[in-house]
């Protein structure tokens, strides 16, 4: 009897102790085992759609540093943004992890600033090589936090063969846009395929429309908005851009039932020549080339007014590597980030439709890359709109407002009012 009692108490105690110990040791095991920086291990969390880039750099890093074991974990954007906050909150973040510049989403540096999670990388030599507007985006109060390897743009991408077959040239100014859509329609084509089933696809044309009308004439818009000196509903550029988007929809620039069209279908339409162009972020050109390897997909500038003096292109960096401030493996992490900066072209080569953020000494591989380099050098680059918005709800209101325009359930003024409401709500 006594033996049974002892066995019961002992068994239960061991089980509870085992459970608690397992729970306590789990985060450390996840971080690779060691709690000190002995220069043998590095954990990286990265964005799935830039996996090709990070894999190329990690392979080179491991070749140069065979003693360091590097573990890379990737997730798609939504899952990544959700998990990275949990990891930071629980102290289990990777040594190097992907973050977004500026603001506007929950994994952007300004949203993560409250917890001292990011190591200040300002002293790294590559920070001084960034173009000014990129350095501003990756910094808070002049402290740089991101090694952002890529820059890309939201632009229309055209199927050159389809354009030639239809005998059309892409519009160079706003006054050419609606006639281009009408001419495409007469030729039995869709001017611009739109994957409106994807929430964020509709923002690509909008970013192009806003660039000239808001930032081409008034580069202080973001600060004025933050200071309460303007609103989305009062700003002439935003009002005009939204109304012009509606005008494009009404003129049949996009295919009918765009909200039921996923990217697979819009890409197919463009690759097959059923559509002449598609507004995209540059990184999506790779998907077009995957389904039509011989296709000639070219970026042409798009302008939402007829004034060359206001030409602007939404061109920025999507994000890049930050070092977790609380990891004991600071030196190994910084070593990798420096390696990434030194081998930025290795990363970029695996990501078509992009250019390196540090363009010094870089030779563009094709006309699309040349366009991106020229845009930066001419000072026409404008950050992605949401990178200066103080919360993620504004972007959500924008993309849902665009879908509302497409299905006829919202007007341009409704959409802007909704964005302003989310801006005003804490």
């Amino acid at each position: 009897m006594q033996w049974n009692r002892k066995l019961a108490i002992g068994g239960a105690t061991f089980a509870i102790a085992g459970l608690l110990l397992a729970g306590c040791t789990a985060p450390d095991a996840e971080n690779g085992g060691g709690a000190t920086d002995d220069g043998t291990f590095l954990k990286i969390d990265w964005l799935a759609n830039e996996k090709a880039g990070i894999d190329a750099v990690v392979a080179a890093f491991q070749e140069a540093n065979p003693d360091i074991q590097v573990v890379v974990t990737t997730a798609d954007t939504a899952q990544y943004q959700a998990s990275i906050r949990t990891q930071l909150g629980t102290g289990t973040a990777a040594d190097v992890f992907y973050v977004w510049p500026g603001d506007g989403n929950t994994a952007a540096i300004r949203q993560l600033d409250s917890g001292d999670f990011l190591t200040d990388l300002s002293d790294e030599s590559w920070v001084g090589q960034y173009p000014d507007f990129i350095r501003e985006l990756v910094s808070i109060d002049d402290k740089a936090y991101i090694m952002a390897p890529l820059a890309t743009a939201f632009t229309p991408v055209y199927n050159q063969a389809a354009l030639d077959a239809a005998g059309l040239t892409p519009p160079e100014a706003w006054s050419d846009v609606i006639p281009f859509c009408e001419a495409a329609s007469k030729a039995g084509k869709v001017a611009y395929a739109l994957a409106g089933n994807n929430l964020y696809a509709g923002q690509a044309p909008y970013y192009n429309l806003v660039a000239d009308l808001v930032y081409g004439t008034d580069t202080k818009f973001d600060q004025q908005l933050l200071d309460g000196k303007t609103t989305f509903t009062e700003n002439k550029g935003y009002v005009e851009a939204t109304e012009k988007y509606q005008e494009m929809m009404d003129a049949g620039c996009f295919q009918p039932n765009a909200t039921g069209t996923p990217y697979d279908e819009s890409n197919r339409m463009l690759a097959a020549g059923e559509a002449l162009g598609q507004f995209l972020i540059g990184t999506r050109i790779a998907a077009l080339q995957a389904i039509a390897p011989d296709g000639d997909f070219r970026i042409y500038p798009f302008h939402s007014d007829d004034d060359e003096a206001t030409n602007a292109v939404t061109l920025s960096t999507q994000g890049g590597a930050a070092v977790y401030a609380k990891t004991p493996r600071q030196e190994t992490a910084k070593k990798f980030v420096s390696f990434l900066a030194d081998n930025i072209e290795l990363y970029q080569a695996a990501m078509p439709g992009t250019i390196p953020t540090i363009t010094e000494g870089y030779t563009p591989a094709n006309a699309n890359e040349q366009f991106l380099v020229d845009t930066i050098q001419q000072g026409h680059a404008v950050h992605f709109l949401n990178q200066m918005w103080p919360n993620a709800r504004i972007e959500s209101a924008m993309v849902n407002g665009i879908q509302g325009l497409l299905v006829g359930s919202a007007s341009p003024s409704d959409m802007l009012a909704s964005m302003q409401k989310e801006f005003d709500t804490e």
């Binding site: 019961a8 509870i16 459970l19 909150g89 929950t106 993560l112 039932n257 697979d264 879908q403 359930s409």
Partner: protein, 320 residues
């Protein structure tokens, strides 16, 4: 003669004695088997449940009254603000309505179709085993995979369903299944119904196999037709299966997430959200954990209340 005053005294040992005997018997039995200490063995599981389920749940309720963003140590109580915002915001109100619509549509159709299929496959048709497997197959597939599959089927222009409509002569038909705000909730419900009809079918089949054939034969001899036999013999005997199926379908319907998130992301224009997708978007995409948990608390309350009502119905139906 026994005085009235002494009667209770003589009765008392008669009623108390068995209780004392029972108590000492339990004690003896517990001492003999060591079962007094067996409760220690449930401690690990209980500790796990407390740490993984109860404490986070109570923390969730606590944070639903705060503006916590999930990261910052700086948060404050906002009272009922998160809850009032839920009922003031047009998107949230639409999501609440959608959640009930998803639950009702999927519950009704999963059960009606599941029962019909079960009745058909309970007969002696030759290929019934193959058909049972085919109907059950969608249940074992991941919801995410099924949602991607249906996204292709529902695609405008070249989607299989649109092509099917064209093939049967409806050449101008091109419904915007996932992009029309008036259609999207029904389209997503079709996905859920297709996925889980096989699940309800299996439970109904099990119920049907438990019905004594003699009762059906007796009813047939008495002149009852197929519908009368179903209504007066089969339906009452299937009551426990019906209750279980309705409860499970309702809970599944209220918790719907994957099918919406993959096919529309809550769009077009925020018209297909359920409370679950709203929780995810608010808590993780907007980084508003406090408000997200408030929506989750409301969802949990709805599911809990309906589950309780169904459970009471189950008990009353004799499935104790």
């Amino acid at each position: 003669m026994t005085s009235p005053a002494t009667a209770p005294a003589t009765d008392a040992p008669r009623t108390a004695a068995p209780r004392a005997d029972r108590g000492s018997s339990f004690r003896r039995n517990a001492q003999r088997t060591g079962s007094r200490y067996l409760w220690l063995f449930i401690l690990p599981a209980a500790a796990f449940y407390i740490f993984v389920v109860l404490i986070p749940s109570f923390q969730g309720v606590f944070f639903s009254f705060t503006n916590w963003n999930g990261l910052s140590a700086d948060w404050k109580f906002v009272g009922l603000d998160n809850f009032t915002r839920l009922f003031e915001d047009a998107v949230s109100v639409k999501a609440i309505g959608n959640t009930f619509l998803y639950a009702i549509l999927s519950t009704v159709f999963e059960n009606v179709l599941g029962l019909l299929v079960a009745l058909a496959l309970h007969s002696r048709i030759k290929s019934r085993n193959v058909l049972r497997v085919l109907f059950f197959m969608p249940v074992v597939l991941l919801s995410v995979v099924i949602a991607y599959l249906w996204q292709y089927l529902f695609q405008v222009n070249n989607g299989a369903i649109t092509q099917l409509l064209h093939a049967i002569g409806l050449t101008d038909a091109n419904p915007n299944w996932l992009g029309d705000p008036n259609l999207v909730v029904f389209s997503i419900s079709i996905i859920v119904i297709w996925q889980f009809t096989g699940y309800t079918m299996v439970i109904y089949l099990a119920g049907l196999q438990g019905i004594p054939p003699e009762q059906l034969e007796a009813a047939a001899i008495d002149g009852a037709g197929p519908f009368t036999r179903f209504w007066y013999v089969v339906r009452p005997l299937l009551a426990p299966a019906i209750t279980v199926n309705i409860m499970l379908s309702l809970i599944r319907g209220f918790m719907i997430f994957d099918q919406i998130w993959v096919t529309t992301g809550g769009g077009p224009a925020d018209t297909s959200h359920s409370l679950s997708t709203l929780v995810y978007r608010t808590a993780f995409q907007f980084g508003e954990l406090g408000r997200g948990t408030a929506i989750a608390v409301v969802l949990a309350l709805i599911v809990g209340i309906l589950g309780f009502i169904q459970y009471r119905g189950l008990l009353r139906g004799g499935a104790r």
